[in-house]
Symmetry: C2
Subunit: 286 residues, 2 copies
Protein backbone atom coordinates (compact mmCIF):
# COMPACT_ATOMS: atom_id res chain seq x y z
CA UNK A 1 0.00 0.00 0.00
CA UNK A 2 1.26 3.43 -0.88
CA UNK A 3 1.61 6.18 1.68
CA UNK A 4 1.33 9.89 1.02
CA UNK A 5 2.14 11.10 4.52
CA UNK A 6 5.03 13.24 3.42
CA UNK A 7 3.98 13.98 -0.17
CA UNK A 8 1.15 16.45 -0.74
CA UNK A 9 -2.17 14.88 -1.62
CA UNK A 10 -2.98 15.03 -5.35
CA UNK A 11 -6.06 17.13 -6.05
CA UNK A 12 -8.45 16.69 -9.00
CA UNK A 13 -10.63 19.67 -9.93
CA UNK A 14 -12.54 18.34 -12.92
CA UNK A 15 -14.64 15.27 -13.68
CA UNK A 16 -12.22 14.32 -16.45
CA UNK A 17 -9.23 14.36 -14.09
CA UNK A 18 -11.15 12.40 -11.46
CA UNK A 19 -12.21 9.78 -13.97
CA UNK A 20 -8.79 9.37 -15.52
CA UNK A 21 -7.18 8.88 -12.10
CA UNK A 22 -9.76 6.23 -11.18
CA UNK A 23 -9.52 4.54 -14.59
CA UNK A 24 -5.75 4.26 -14.22
CA UNK A 25 -6.15 2.54 -10.85
CA UNK A 26 -8.88 0.26 -12.21
CA UNK A 27 -6.56 -0.75 -15.04
CA UNK A 28 -4.19 -1.86 -12.31
CA UNK A 29 -7.01 -3.89 -10.75
CA UNK A 30 -7.40 -1.51 -7.83
CA UNK A 31 -10.92 -0.87 -6.58
CA UNK A 32 -12.01 2.64 -5.65
CA UNK A 33 -13.60 3.83 -2.42
CA UNK A 34 -15.28 7.25 -2.33
CA UNK A 35 -15.83 9.46 0.70
CA UNK A 36 -18.02 12.48 -0.04
CA UNK A 37 -17.41 15.34 2.43
CA UNK A 38 -18.04 19.04 2.80
CA UNK A 39 -14.56 19.50 4.27
CA UNK A 40 -14.01 20.81 7.82
CA UNK A 41 -12.71 17.34 8.41
CA UNK A 42 -12.45 15.63 11.77
CA UNK A 43 -11.71 12.17 13.11
CA UNK A 44 -15.15 11.01 11.96
CA UNK A 45 -14.24 11.63 8.32
CA UNK A 46 -10.81 10.09 8.82
CA UNK A 47 -12.42 6.94 10.20
CA UNK A 48 -14.25 6.70 6.85
CA UNK A 49 -10.94 7.02 5.01
CA UNK A 50 -9.49 4.21 7.10
CA UNK A 51 -12.55 2.02 6.55
CA UNK A 52 -12.28 2.66 2.80
CA UNK A 53 -8.58 1.86 2.85
CA UNK A 54 -9.40 -1.53 4.41
CA UNK A 55 -11.63 -2.46 1.48
CA UNK A 56 -10.39 -0.54 -1.54
CA UNK A 57 -7.02 -0.07 -3.18
CA UNK A 58 -7.64 3.55 -4.13
CA UNK A 59 -9.36 5.97 -1.79
CA UNK A 60 -10.81 9.25 -3.03
CA UNK A 61 -12.26 11.89 -0.72
CA UNK A 62 -14.40 14.64 -2.17
CA UNK A 63 -14.66 18.18 -0.84
CA UNK A 64 -17.58 20.29 -1.96
CA UNK A 65 -19.64 22.56 0.25
CA UNK A 66 -22.93 21.94 -1.51
CA UNK A 67 -25.04 25.10 -1.70
CA UNK A 68 -28.14 23.10 -2.64
CA UNK A 69 -28.41 21.52 0.80
CA UNK A 70 -28.42 24.81 2.68
CA UNK A 71 -31.51 27.01 2.98
CA UNK A 72 -30.95 30.76 2.50
CA UNK A 73 -31.03 31.38 6.28
CA UNK A 74 -28.60 28.54 7.04
CA UNK A 75 -24.84 28.54 7.55
CA UNK A 76 -23.52 28.08 3.99
CA UNK A 77 -21.42 31.25 4.13
CA UNK A 78 -19.91 30.62 7.54
CA UNK A 79 -19.48 26.86 7.03
CA UNK A 80 -15.81 26.18 7.93
CA UNK A 81 -13.47 25.91 4.89
CA UNK A 82 -9.81 24.86 5.04
CA UNK A 83 -8.85 22.84 1.98
CA UNK A 84 -5.11 22.72 2.68
CA UNK A 85 -5.63 21.52 6.24
CA UNK A 86 -8.19 18.98 5.08
CA UNK A 87 -5.81 17.67 2.42
CA UNK A 88 -3.10 17.12 5.05
CA UNK A 89 -5.49 15.25 7.33
CA UNK A 90 -6.68 13.07 4.45
CA UNK A 91 -3.11 12.24 3.40
CA UNK A 92 -2.22 11.28 6.96
CA UNK A 93 -5.16 8.86 7.06
CA UNK A 94 -4.10 7.14 3.82
CA UNK A 95 -6.33 8.91 1.29
CA UNK A 96 -4.95 8.76 -2.26
CA UNK A 97 -6.75 11.61 -4.02
CA UNK A 98 -8.79 14.65 -3.10
CA UNK A 99 -11.51 15.62 -5.55
CA UNK A 100 -12.39 19.26 -4.93
CA UNK A 101 -14.54 20.53 -7.80
CA UNK A 102 -15.57 24.15 -8.09
CA UNK A 103 -19.19 25.22 -8.15
CA UNK A 104 -19.19 25.56 -11.95
CA UNK A 105 -18.09 21.93 -12.28
CA UNK A 106 -20.92 20.71 -10.07
CA UNK A 107 -23.62 23.15 -11.15
CA UNK A 108 -22.76 24.63 -14.55
CA UNK A 109 -24.97 27.35 -16.00
CA UNK A 110 -28.34 25.94 -16.94
CA UNK A 111 -28.20 23.13 -14.38
CA UNK A 112 -31.79 21.93 -14.04
CA UNK A 113 -32.00 18.40 -12.64
CA UNK A 114 -32.79 17.19 -9.16
CA UNK A 115 -33.02 13.81 -7.52
CA UNK A 116 -35.83 13.48 -4.99
CA UNK A 117 -36.37 10.67 -2.53
CA UNK A 118 -39.76 10.39 -0.90
CA UNK A 119 -40.67 8.23 2.15
CA UNK A 120 -37.46 8.08 4.19
CA UNK A 121 -36.56 11.71 3.44
CA UNK A 122 -39.89 13.29 4.36
CA UNK A 123 -39.84 13.15 8.17
CA UNK A 124 -37.43 14.36 10.91
CA UNK A 125 -34.61 16.24 9.13
CA UNK A 126 -36.73 16.39 5.98
CA UNK A 127 -39.52 18.09 7.90
CA UNK A 128 -37.24 20.53 9.72
CA UNK A 129 -35.08 21.27 6.65
CA UNK A 130 -37.34 20.77 3.60
CA UNK A 131 -34.60 21.69 1.08
CA UNK A 132 -31.98 19.46 2.66
CA UNK A 133 -32.38 15.95 1.27
CA UNK A 134 -33.13 17.18 -2.25
CA UNK A 135 -29.75 18.90 -2.17
CA UNK A 136 -28.01 15.90 -0.64
CA UNK A 137 -29.59 13.37 -3.01
CA UNK A 138 -28.69 15.41 -6.07
CA UNK A 139 -25.08 16.08 -5.13
CA UNK A 140 -24.42 12.53 -3.93
CA UNK A 141 -25.90 11.14 -7.15
CA UNK A 142 -23.58 13.41 -9.11
CA UNK A 143 -20.49 12.48 -7.08
CA UNK A 144 -21.27 8.77 -7.36
CA UNK A 145 -21.75 9.04 -11.12
CA UNK A 146 -18.70 11.22 -11.60
CA UNK A 147 -16.47 8.71 -9.83
CA UNK A 148 -18.40 5.43 -10.29
CA UNK A 149 -16.53 3.98 -7.29
CA UNK A 150 -16.85 0.38 -6.13
CA UNK A 151 -17.92 1.53 -2.68
CA UNK A 152 -18.84 4.81 -0.99
CA UNK A 153 -18.55 5.46 2.73
CA UNK A 154 -20.89 7.53 4.90
CA UNK A 155 -21.08 8.05 8.65
CA UNK A 156 -24.02 6.85 10.74
CA UNK A 157 -23.89 10.23 12.45
CA UNK A 158 -26.10 11.42 9.59
CA UNK A 159 -28.29 8.38 9.89
CA UNK A 160 -31.27 9.59 7.90
CA UNK A 161 -28.93 10.82 5.16
CA UNK A 162 -27.38 7.35 5.02
CA UNK A 163 -30.85 5.83 4.51
CA UNK A 164 -31.69 8.39 1.81
CA UNK A 165 -28.46 7.57 -0.02
CA UNK A 166 -29.08 3.82 0.24
CA UNK A 167 -32.56 4.39 -1.17
CA UNK A 168 -31.51 6.49 -4.16
CA UNK A 169 -28.60 4.20 -4.96
CA UNK A 170 -30.91 1.21 -5.04
CA UNK A 171 -33.72 3.00 -6.88
CA UNK A 172 -31.54 4.55 -9.59
CA UNK A 173 -29.45 1.38 -10.00
CA UNK A 174 -26.17 3.14 -9.28
CA UNK A 175 -23.60 0.33 -9.31
CA UNK A 176 -21.95 1.08 -5.97
CA UNK A 177 -21.92 -0.44 -2.50
CA UNK A 178 -22.96 2.03 0.20
CA UNK A 179 -21.07 1.42 3.45
CA UNK A 180 -22.29 2.96 6.70
CA UNK A 181 -19.66 3.52 9.39
CA UNK A 182 -20.16 4.07 13.15
CA UNK A 183 -20.30 7.56 14.62
CA UNK A 184 -17.01 8.72 16.13
CA UNK A 185 -17.37 10.50 19.49
CA UNK A 186 -15.39 12.71 21.83
CA UNK A 187 -14.43 11.28 25.22
CA UNK A 188 -17.60 12.68 26.75
CA UNK A 189 -19.66 11.04 24.02
CA UNK A 190 -20.38 14.11 21.89
CA UNK A 191 -20.69 12.99 18.27
CA UNK A 192 -17.99 14.58 16.14
CA UNK A 193 -19.40 17.20 13.76
CA UNK A 194 -17.93 20.01 11.73
CA UNK A 195 -20.55 22.23 13.36
CA UNK A 196 -19.14 21.59 16.85
CA UNK A 197 -16.57 24.25 15.94
CA UNK A 198 -19.34 26.84 16.29
CA UNK A 199 -19.91 26.06 19.98
CA UNK A 200 -18.77 28.38 22.78
CA UNK A 201 -17.11 26.73 25.80
CA UNK A 202 -20.37 26.92 27.72
CA UNK A 203 -22.38 25.47 24.81
CA UNK A 204 -19.80 22.73 24.41
CA UNK A 205 -20.45 21.61 28.00
CA UNK A 206 -24.19 21.46 27.38
CA UNK A 207 -23.65 19.65 24.05
CA UNK A 208 -22.18 16.64 25.82
CA UNK A 209 -25.58 16.01 27.44
CA UNK A 210 -27.15 15.08 24.09
CA UNK A 211 -25.64 11.62 23.92
CA UNK A 212 -26.24 11.05 27.65
CA UNK A 213 -29.93 11.84 27.30
CA UNK A 214 -30.18 9.42 24.35
CA UNK A 215 -28.43 6.69 26.33
CA UNK A 216 -30.86 7.26 29.22
CA UNK A 217 -33.80 7.10 26.82
CA UNK A 218 -32.59 3.78 25.45
CA UNK A 219 -32.33 2.42 28.99
CA UNK A 220 -35.89 3.50 29.71
CA UNK A 221 -37.16 1.94 26.47
CA UNK A 222 -35.45 -1.32 27.27
CA UNK A 223 -36.99 -1.22 30.73
CA UNK A 224 -40.39 -1.11 29.06
CA UNK A 225 -41.29 2.59 29.13
CA UNK A 226 -43.69 3.62 26.32
CA UNK A 227 -42.13 5.27 23.26
CA UNK A 228 -44.17 8.49 23.55
CA UNK A 229 -43.28 8.97 27.19
CA UNK A 230 -39.58 8.40 26.55
CA UNK A 231 -39.48 10.86 23.64
CA UNK A 232 -41.20 13.53 25.75
CA UNK A 233 -38.99 12.92 28.75
CA UNK A 234 -35.81 13.11 26.63
CA UNK A 235 -36.92 16.43 25.09
CA UNK A 236 -37.56 17.87 28.55
CA UNK A 237 -34.14 16.65 29.74
CA UNK A 238 -32.44 18.39 26.81
CA UNK A 239 -34.23 21.65 27.54
CA UNK A 240 -33.38 21.33 31.23
CA UNK A 241 -29.73 20.65 30.35
CA UNK A 242 -29.55 24.00 28.57
CA UNK A 243 -30.41 23.32 24.91
CA UNK A 244 -32.04 26.39 23.39
CA UNK A 245 -34.70 24.33 21.67
CA UNK A 246 -35.37 20.76 20.59
CA UNK A 247 -36.43 19.98 17.02
CA UNK A 248 -37.22 16.34 17.77
CA UNK A 249 -36.37 13.29 19.78
CA UNK A 250 -37.84 10.31 17.94
CA UNK A 251 -37.75 6.55 18.26
CA UNK A 252 -38.21 5.12 14.79
CA UNK A 253 -37.93 1.95 12.75
CA UNK A 254 -34.24 1.67 11.91
CA UNK A 255 -34.87 0.93 8.22
CA UNK A 256 -37.92 3.04 7.34
CA UNK A 257 -37.86 5.76 10.05
CA UNK A 258 -41.58 5.17 10.52
CA UNK A 259 -42.83 5.42 14.12
CA UNK A 260 -42.43 2.17 16.01
CA UNK A 261 -45.21 0.52 17.97
CA UNK A 262 -42.84 -1.61 20.05
CA UNK A 263 -39.20 -2.62 20.31
CA UNK A 264 -40.02 -5.88 18.52
CA UNK A 265 -38.74 -4.15 15.36
CA UNK A 266 -35.16 -2.82 15.01
CA UNK A 267 -35.32 0.76 16.25
CA UNK A 268 -33.18 3.87 16.25
CA UNK A 269 -33.45 6.93 18.46
CA UNK A 270 -32.71 10.20 16.67
CA UNK A 271 -32.52 13.74 17.98
CA UNK A 272 -31.89 17.29 16.77
CA UNK A 273 -31.51 20.26 19.12
CA UNK A 274 -30.20 23.79 19.09
CA UNK A 275 -27.52 25.48 21.15
CA UNK A 276 -27.81 29.15 20.26
CA UNK A 277 -27.37 29.30 16.49
CA UNK A 278 -25.85 25.84 16.25
CA UNK A 279 -27.95 22.81 15.44
CA UNK A 280 -26.69 19.42 16.64
CA UNK A 281 -27.96 15.98 15.67
CA UNK A 282 -27.24 12.55 17.07
CA UNK A 283 -28.68 9.03 16.91
CA UNK A 284 -28.16 5.57 18.32
CA UNK A 285 -29.40 2.03 17.85
CA UNK A 286 -32.07 1.11 20.43
CA UNK B 1 -20.51 -8.04 -37.59
CA UNK B 2 -22.72 -10.79 -36.26
CA UNK B 3 -26.23 -11.34 -37.56
CA UNK B 4 -29.12 -12.81 -35.61
CA UNK B 5 -31.65 -12.84 -38.42
CA UNK B 6 -32.33 -16.52 -38.11
CA UNK B 7 -31.47 -17.06 -34.43
CA UNK B 8 -33.92 -15.78 -31.81
CA UNK B 9 -32.81 -12.59 -30.07
CA UNK B 10 -31.37 -13.21 -26.59
CA UNK B 11 -33.49 -11.57 -23.88
CA UNK B 12 -32.22 -10.33 -20.50
CA UNK B 13 -34.81 -9.90 -17.74
CA UNK B 14 -32.65 -8.73 -14.84
CA UNK B 15 -30.08 -6.00 -14.26
CA UNK B 16 -27.49 -8.64 -13.43
CA UNK B 17 -28.02 -10.45 -16.74
CA UNK B 18 -27.94 -7.18 -18.66
CA UNK B 19 -24.72 -6.08 -16.97
CA UNK B 20 -22.95 -9.39 -17.43
CA UNK B 21 -23.80 -9.44 -21.16
CA UNK B 22 -22.47 -5.90 -21.59
CA UNK B 23 -19.38 -6.59 -19.47
CA UNK B 24 -18.55 -9.61 -21.62
CA UNK B 25 -18.71 -7.49 -24.77
CA UNK B 26 -16.68 -4.71 -23.15
CA UNK B 27 -14.00 -7.27 -22.24
CA UNK B 28 -13.86 -7.99 -25.97
CA UNK B 29 -13.39 -4.25 -26.61
CA UNK B 30 -16.87 -3.87 -28.03
CA UNK B 31 -18.73 -0.66 -27.20
CA UNK B 32 -22.40 -0.77 -26.29
CA UNK B 33 -25.25 1.23 -27.78
CA UNK B 34 -28.58 1.39 -25.93
CA UNK B 35 -32.02 2.02 -27.44
CA UNK B 36 -34.71 2.51 -24.81
CA UNK B 37 -38.19 1.71 -26.15
CA UNK B 38 -41.69 0.95 -24.93
CA UNK B 39 -42.05 -1.75 -27.58
CA UNK B 40 -44.72 -1.54 -30.30
CA UNK B 41 -41.74 -1.13 -32.57
CA UNK B 42 -41.79 0.39 -36.02
CA UNK B 43 -39.29 1.53 -38.61
CA UNK B 44 -38.43 4.56 -36.46
CA UNK B 45 -37.10 2.33 -33.70
CA UNK B 46 -35.32 0.13 -36.23
CA UNK B 47 -33.57 3.19 -37.66
CA UNK B 48 -32.17 3.75 -34.14
CA UNK B 49 -30.92 0.17 -34.07
CA UNK B 50 -29.17 0.68 -37.39
CA UNK B 51 -27.66 3.99 -36.26
CA UNK B 52 -26.42 2.27 -33.09
CA UNK B 53 -24.99 -0.60 -35.10
CA UNK B 54 -22.96 1.92 -37.14
CA UNK B 55 -21.25 3.22 -34.02
CA UNK B 56 -21.25 0.43 -31.47
CA UNK B 57 -20.18 -3.21 -31.54
CA UNK B 58 -23.00 -4.37 -29.27
CA UNK B 59 -26.53 -3.03 -29.55
CA UNK B 60 -29.07 -3.45 -26.78
CA UNK B 61 -32.72 -2.45 -27.12
CA UNK B 62 -34.84 -2.15 -24.01
CA UNK B 63 -38.57 -2.83 -23.81
CA UNK B 64 -40.45 -1.51 -20.83
CA UNK B 65 -43.86 0.15 -20.91
CA UNK B 66 -43.17 2.63 -18.15
CA UNK B 67 -46.23 3.18 -15.97
CA UNK B 68 -44.71 6.32 -14.42
CA UNK B 69 -45.00 8.28 -17.66
CA UNK B 70 -48.71 7.64 -18.09
CA UNK B 71 -51.36 9.56 -16.15
CA UNK B 72 -54.26 7.49 -14.76
CA UNK B 73 -56.56 8.57 -17.62
CA UNK B 74 -53.97 7.82 -20.33
CA UNK B 75 -53.44 4.74 -22.48
CA UNK B 76 -51.12 2.60 -20.32
CA UNK B 77 -53.49 -0.38 -20.35
CA UNK B 78 -54.23 -0.30 -24.07
CA UNK B 79 -50.67 0.59 -25.12
CA UNK B 80 -49.76 -2.02 -27.79
CA UNK B 81 -47.65 -4.92 -26.49
CA UNK B 82 -46.07 -7.63 -28.66
CA UNK B 83 -42.71 -8.69 -27.27
CA UNK B 84 -42.17 -11.65 -29.61
CA UNK B 85 -42.90 -9.55 -32.69
CA UNK B 86 -40.68 -6.75 -31.39
CA UNK B 87 -37.83 -9.20 -30.77
CA UNK B 88 -38.04 -10.46 -34.36
CA UNK B 89 -37.97 -6.93 -35.75
CA UNK B 90 -34.99 -6.02 -33.56
CA UNK B 91 -33.07 -9.11 -34.63
CA UNK B 92 -33.71 -8.35 -38.29
CA UNK B 93 -32.28 -4.84 -37.81
CA UNK B 94 -29.08 -6.17 -36.22
CA UNK B 95 -29.88 -5.76 -32.53
CA UNK B 96 -27.81 -8.07 -30.31
CA UNK B 97 -29.80 -8.18 -27.06
CA UNK B 98 -33.27 -7.29 -25.85
CA UNK B 99 -33.52 -6.13 -22.26
CA UNK B 100 -37.13 -6.55 -21.14
CA UNK B 101 -37.33 -6.16 -17.38
CA UNK B 102 -40.53 -6.75 -15.43
CA UNK B 103 -42.15 -4.04 -13.35
CA UNK B 104 -40.68 -5.45 -10.13
CA UNK B 105 -37.17 -5.12 -11.58
CA UNK B 106 -37.72 -1.48 -12.48
CA UNK B 107 -39.89 -0.44 -9.54
CA UNK B 108 -39.40 -2.87 -6.66
CA UNK B 109 -41.53 -2.50 -3.53
CA UNK B 110 -40.57 0.64 -1.67
CA UNK B 111 -39.30 2.45 -4.76
CA UNK B 112 -39.16 6.11 -3.77
CA UNK B 113 -36.81 8.11 -5.99
CA UNK B 114 -37.54 10.41 -8.89
CA UNK B 115 -35.43 12.45 -11.26
CA UNK B 116 -36.89 15.83 -12.12
CA UNK B 117 -35.73 18.19 -14.85
CA UNK B 118 -36.92 21.77 -14.69
CA UNK B 119 -36.69 24.38 -17.49
CA UNK B 120 -36.83 22.34 -20.72
CA UNK B 121 -39.44 19.94 -19.31
CA UNK B 122 -41.90 22.50 -17.98
CA UNK B 123 -43.54 23.76 -21.18
CA UNK B 124 -45.37 22.13 -24.15
CA UNK B 125 -45.58 18.39 -23.36
CA UNK B 126 -44.67 19.11 -19.74
CA UNK B 127 -47.59 21.49 -19.46
CA UNK B 128 -50.09 19.20 -21.20
CA UNK B 129 -48.87 16.04 -19.43
CA UNK B 130 -47.46 17.18 -16.06
CA UNK B 131 -46.51 13.64 -14.92
CA UNK B 132 -44.81 12.74 -18.20
CA UNK B 133 -41.23 13.98 -18.04
CA UNK B 134 -40.79 13.00 -14.40
CA UNK B 135 -41.62 9.45 -15.45
CA UNK B 136 -39.40 9.61 -18.52
CA UNK B 137 -36.45 11.16 -16.69
CA UNK B 138 -36.60 8.58 -13.91
CA UNK B 139 -36.89 5.52 -16.14
CA UNK B 140 -34.25 6.72 -18.62
CA UNK B 141 -31.85 7.46 -15.76
CA UNK B 142 -32.43 3.93 -14.47
CA UNK B 143 -31.94 2.31 -17.88
CA UNK B 144 -28.77 4.30 -18.53
CA UNK B 145 -27.35 3.37 -15.12
CA UNK B 146 -28.38 -0.27 -15.42
CA UNK B 147 -26.59 -0.62 -18.75
CA UNK B 148 -23.95 2.14 -18.59
CA UNK B 149 -23.71 2.08 -22.39
CA UNK B 150 -21.21 4.10 -24.39
CA UNK B 151 -24.04 5.76 -26.33
CA UNK B 152 -27.83 5.84 -26.20
CA UNK B 153 -30.06 6.58 -29.18
CA UNK B 154 -33.33 8.51 -29.17
CA UNK B 155 -35.56 9.72 -31.98
CA UNK B 156 -36.10 13.40 -32.73
CA UNK B 157 -39.79 12.54 -33.08
CA UNK B 158 -39.93 13.04 -29.29
CA UNK B 159 -37.89 16.19 -29.54
CA UNK B 160 -38.61 17.64 -26.12
CA UNK B 161 -37.92 14.25 -24.54
CA UNK B 162 -34.55 14.20 -26.31
CA UNK B 163 -33.70 17.61 -24.79
CA UNK B 164 -34.82 16.46 -21.33
CA UNK B 165 -32.62 13.38 -21.61
CA UNK B 166 -29.63 15.44 -22.78
CA UNK B 167 -30.16 17.76 -19.82
CA UNK B 168 -30.38 15.06 -17.14
CA UNK B 169 -27.44 13.17 -18.61
CA UNK B 170 -25.29 16.27 -18.47
CA UNK B 171 -26.56 17.39 -15.06
CA UNK B 172 -26.18 14.02 -13.33
CA UNK B 173 -22.83 13.30 -15.02
CA UNK B 174 -24.03 10.05 -16.56
CA UNK B 175 -21.07 8.91 -18.66
CA UNK B 176 -22.94 8.29 -21.92
CA UNK B 177 -23.23 10.01 -25.28
CA UNK B 178 -26.83 10.84 -26.20
CA UNK B 179 -27.42 10.53 -29.94
CA UNK B 180 -30.51 12.07 -31.53
CA UNK B 181 -31.72 10.48 -34.77
CA UNK B 182 -34.05 11.94 -37.45
CA UNK B 183 -37.77 11.20 -37.41
CA UNK B 184 -38.80 8.42 -39.76
CA UNK B 185 -41.97 9.15 -41.77
CA UNK B 186 -44.56 7.38 -43.86
CA UNK B 187 -44.72 8.20 -47.58
CA UNK B 188 -47.29 10.91 -46.89
CA UNK B 189 -45.02 12.41 -44.25
CA UNK B 190 -46.82 11.16 -41.12
CA UNK B 191 -44.22 10.66 -38.40
CA UNK B 192 -44.04 7.01 -37.36
CA UNK B 193 -45.47 6.44 -33.90
CA UNK B 194 -46.66 3.42 -31.97
CA UNK B 195 -49.87 5.36 -31.34
CA UNK B 196 -50.64 5.56 -35.09
CA UNK B 197 -51.99 2.02 -34.62
CA UNK B 198 -54.94 3.53 -32.75
CA UNK B 199 -56.11 5.53 -35.77
CA UNK B 200 -59.17 4.60 -37.80
CA UNK B 201 -58.81 4.78 -41.59
CA UNK B 202 -60.54 8.17 -41.61
CA UNK B 203 -58.36 9.48 -38.78
CA UNK B 204 -55.28 8.18 -40.56
CA UNK B 205 -56.12 10.33 -43.58
CA UNK B 206 -56.46 13.42 -41.39
CA UNK B 207 -53.25 12.54 -39.53
CA UNK B 208 -51.20 13.02 -42.66
CA UNK B 209 -52.10 16.72 -42.61
CA UNK B 210 -50.05 17.35 -39.45
CA UNK B 211 -46.68 17.32 -41.19
CA UNK B 212 -48.05 19.28 -44.14
CA UNK B 213 -49.32 22.04 -41.87
CA UNK B 214 -45.92 22.21 -40.15
CA UNK B 215 -44.12 22.41 -43.51
CA UNK B 216 -46.47 25.23 -44.56
CA UNK B 217 -45.81 27.02 -41.28
CA UNK B 218 -42.06 26.81 -41.84
CA UNK B 219 -42.49 28.27 -45.31
CA UNK B 220 -44.50 31.16 -43.87
CA UNK B 221 -41.90 31.79 -41.16
CA UNK B 222 -39.10 31.82 -43.71
CA UNK B 223 -41.14 34.26 -45.80
CA UNK B 224 -41.14 36.59 -42.80
CA UNK B 225 -44.53 35.97 -41.21
CA UNK B 226 -44.59 36.74 -37.47
CA UNK B 227 -44.26 33.73 -35.12
CA UNK B 228 -47.60 34.36 -33.31
CA UNK B 229 -49.51 34.60 -36.55
CA UNK B 230 -47.97 31.43 -37.95
CA UNK B 231 -48.72 29.45 -34.78
CA UNK B 232 -52.34 30.57 -34.79
CA UNK B 233 -52.77 29.90 -38.52
CA UNK B 234 -51.31 26.39 -38.19
CA UNK B 235 -53.67 25.57 -35.31
CA UNK B 236 -56.65 26.72 -37.36
CA UNK B 237 -55.48 24.63 -40.31
CA UNK B 238 -55.23 21.53 -38.13
CA UNK B 239 -58.75 22.06 -36.80
CA UNK B 240 -60.04 22.67 -40.32
CA UNK B 241 -58.30 19.49 -41.54
CA UNK B 242 -60.31 17.45 -39.04
CA UNK B 243 -58.19 17.27 -35.88
CA UNK B 244 -60.45 16.99 -32.84
CA UNK B 245 -58.41 19.51 -30.88
CA UNK B 246 -54.98 21.10 -30.88
CA UNK B 247 -52.85 21.12 -27.72
CA UNK B 248 -50.24 23.44 -29.19
CA UNK B 249 -48.37 24.57 -32.27
CA UNK B 250 -45.25 26.37 -31.06
CA UNK B 251 -42.13 27.83 -32.63
CA UNK B 252 -39.38 27.63 -30.04
CA UNK B 253 -35.65 27.93 -29.56
CA UNK B 254 -34.25 24.58 -30.69
CA UNK B 255 -32.03 24.18 -27.61
CA UNK B 256 -34.07 25.69 -24.78
CA UNK B 257 -37.65 25.51 -26.12
CA UNK B 258 -38.12 29.10 -24.97
CA UNK B 259 -40.28 31.27 -27.24
CA UNK B 260 -38.29 32.82 -30.08
CA UNK B 261 -38.37 36.46 -30.97
CA UNK B 262 -37.04 35.91 -34.47
CA UNK B 263 -35.53 33.26 -36.71
CA UNK B 264 -32.07 34.63 -35.96
CA UNK B 265 -31.79 31.82 -33.38
CA UNK B 266 -32.04 28.12 -34.32
CA UNK B 267 -35.74 27.30 -34.05
CA UNK B 268 -37.98 24.25 -34.00
CA UNK B 269 -41.69 24.04 -34.65
CA UNK B 270 -43.53 21.57 -32.44
CA UNK B 271 -47.14 20.47 -32.40
CA UNK B 272 -49.50 18.17 -30.53
CA UNK B 273 -53.06 17.47 -31.63
CA UNK B 274 -55.84 14.98 -31.03
CA UNK B 275 -57.68 12.70 -33.40
CA UNK B 276 -60.50 11.25 -31.31
CA UNK B 277 -58.79 9.56 -28.36
CA UNK B 278 -55.37 9.50 -30.02
CA UNK B 279 -52.82 12.20 -29.41
CA UNK B 280 -50.21 12.82 -32.12
CA UNK B 281 -47.06 14.91 -31.90
CA UNK B 282 -44.60 16.07 -34.52
CA UNK B 283 -41.80 18.61 -34.88
CA UNK B 284 -39.38 19.96 -37.46
CA UNK B 285 -36.37 22.22 -37.69
CA UNK B 286 -37.32 25.73 -38.88
Amino acid sequence: MRKHVSAPLPIARTVADLRSAIAAERNNSRTTGLIPTMGALHEGHLSLVRAAKQRCGFVVATLFVNPKQFAPHEDFDRYPRNEAGDADLLASAGCDLLYAPGRSVMYPDGFATSVLVSNVSTMLEGQMRPHFFGGVATVVTKLLLQALPDAAFFGEKDYQQLLVIRQLTRDLDIPVEIVGCPTVRERDGLALSSRNAYLSAAERRVASRLNVVLHDAIKALRAGAPVDAVEGEASRHLAAAGFTSVDYVAVRNAATLQPVASLAEPARILAAAWLGKTRLIDNMAV
